[in-house]
């Protein structure tokens, strides 16, 4: 049976892992390569690297970092942040990344999703979408959560799938950094309308939150600080999920 995935996320700035609260106030959590190795050994199913300075400074994600991570990692990983061309994508995949995630650049140029999925296969293209609740609807934000768009959350998720994205990495900006749990309402609505795997992100604070997100339809759950600061061990989390009847790889 296909296992539900646990994915530590490493927000990277200048080759170091940082984690913000509500996308601000960055704290240093350690060397990216070191953490990648640790998570791979501890039983993470996958890793996500987000170069959080990339969108802001319009520079390319660190291909060198991907190479050094790939040399120690024996599990898949996704890399994102400031990727804006098919050439960038090609460089990152050729350096050892398994998937790339597109966020701001996909909103600005939706063709990037269709072009890259045509060339590299949709399994390599993750649409990273940051949403925030505004009155009655969810709004998509770009540039690391700093710029509001006029896109509605569910509608944009459906559109990226039609364009060829093979997975959606959904971050709830309201929940991110709060440790109050994933946005299960949005996950559950999204699960009803898209046919690709969904990675839940933002808000994990304890083991129950992962269970709730899987029950709401998430295929994978992402967390950062919880794992970086060892507040939760992946192995304990998976044992808990297995007891609750969630298929996991132990």
């Amino acid at each position: 049976m296909l296992a539900k995935r646990i994915i530590p996320c490493l927000d990277v700035k200048d080759g170091r892992v940082v984690k913000g609260t509500n996308f601000l106030n960055l704290r240093d959590a350690g060397s990216a390569v070191e953490l990648a190795q640790r998570y791979s050994d501890e039983g993470a199913d996958e890793l996500v690297f987000l170069d959080i300075t990339a969108s802001e400074e319009k520079r390319r994600t660190l291909v060198e970092l991907v190479k050094s991570v790939a040399s120690v990692m024996r599990i898949p990983f996704t890399v994102g942040g400031g990727i804006s061309s098919v050439n960038d994508i090609s460089d990152l995949l050729n350096s050892g990344a398994d998937k790339i995630s597109l966020n701001t650049s996909a909103v600005k140029n939706p063709q990037l999703i269709s072009e890259s999925s045509k060339q590299f296969g949709s399994q390599a293209v993750v649409a990273a979408i940051d949403v925030k609740k505004m009155d009655k609807e969810y709004r998509v934000f770009i540039k690391g959560g700093k710029v509001e768009t006029n896109l509605e959350g569910i509608k944009w998720c459906k559109e990226v799938v039609e364009l060829g994205a093979g997975e959606i990495l959904l971050t709830s900006m309201d929940q991110d950094g709060t440790k109050n749990g994933y946005d299960t309402n949005f996950l559950s609505s999204l699960n009803k309308v898209v046919s690709v795997p969904i990675i839940a992100s933002g808000g994990a604070g304890k083991m129950e939150h992962f269970y709730e997100a899987f029950a709401a339809g998430a295929d994978a759950c992402l967390a950062a600080s919880l794992f970086h600061y060892k507040q939760l061990e992946i192995c304990d989390l998976k044992k808990y999920l297995m007891k609750k009847g969630v298929p996991v790889r132990l």
Binding site: L2, A3, D45, P76, G96, D98, Q119, G121, Q123, P197
Partner: protein, 194 residues
Amino acid sequence: MIALIDYGAGNTASVSNILNELNADFILTSDKKNIEAADKIILPGVGEASSAMERLSELGLIETLKNLTQPFLGICLGMQLLCESTEEGDVSCIGIFQEKVKRFQASGFKVPHMGWNTIKMATSDRLLEGIPNEIYFYFAHSYFVPQNEFTTSICNYGIDFSASLRHKNFYGVQFHPEKSAQQGIKILKNFLEI
């Protein structure tokens, strides 16, 4: 010497990393002579089938690959390309396994089939030697090879499909051994020892 085929549709970096770890002597190549002279061949694969076949055709490699007699391992798309044809881009493939590659369609199952799934052994095979039954491997694909006479292990995702195949010197794995932690490394090690 192993020839790791570089045709612009591969996860060559990840496979290279493991071959390095296993101290294997290999070259990254798309040259016909290098491939024919190699002791073993690996065809990696990440990407879209019709563009991958187009690329192999431009490199003049289709007949070369078909006629090889050395141990040959196709990974993911590399395995699918060894089949007769594929629904992905509706193209003819290399034609070692007389099967048509199909798209996942079972209702309630998301596509791509993405993540860690277990495999069940269908026959005993050198490539899978020492691999326990029901062990997790990493999959990332939207198309699959139906179960057939060449199937050596099975995975289930709404339907039973081929997790691995073998015909004569041609081996194929649908999962990514280079991304499947220790068990995946074991499979590549088995291949090196064939």
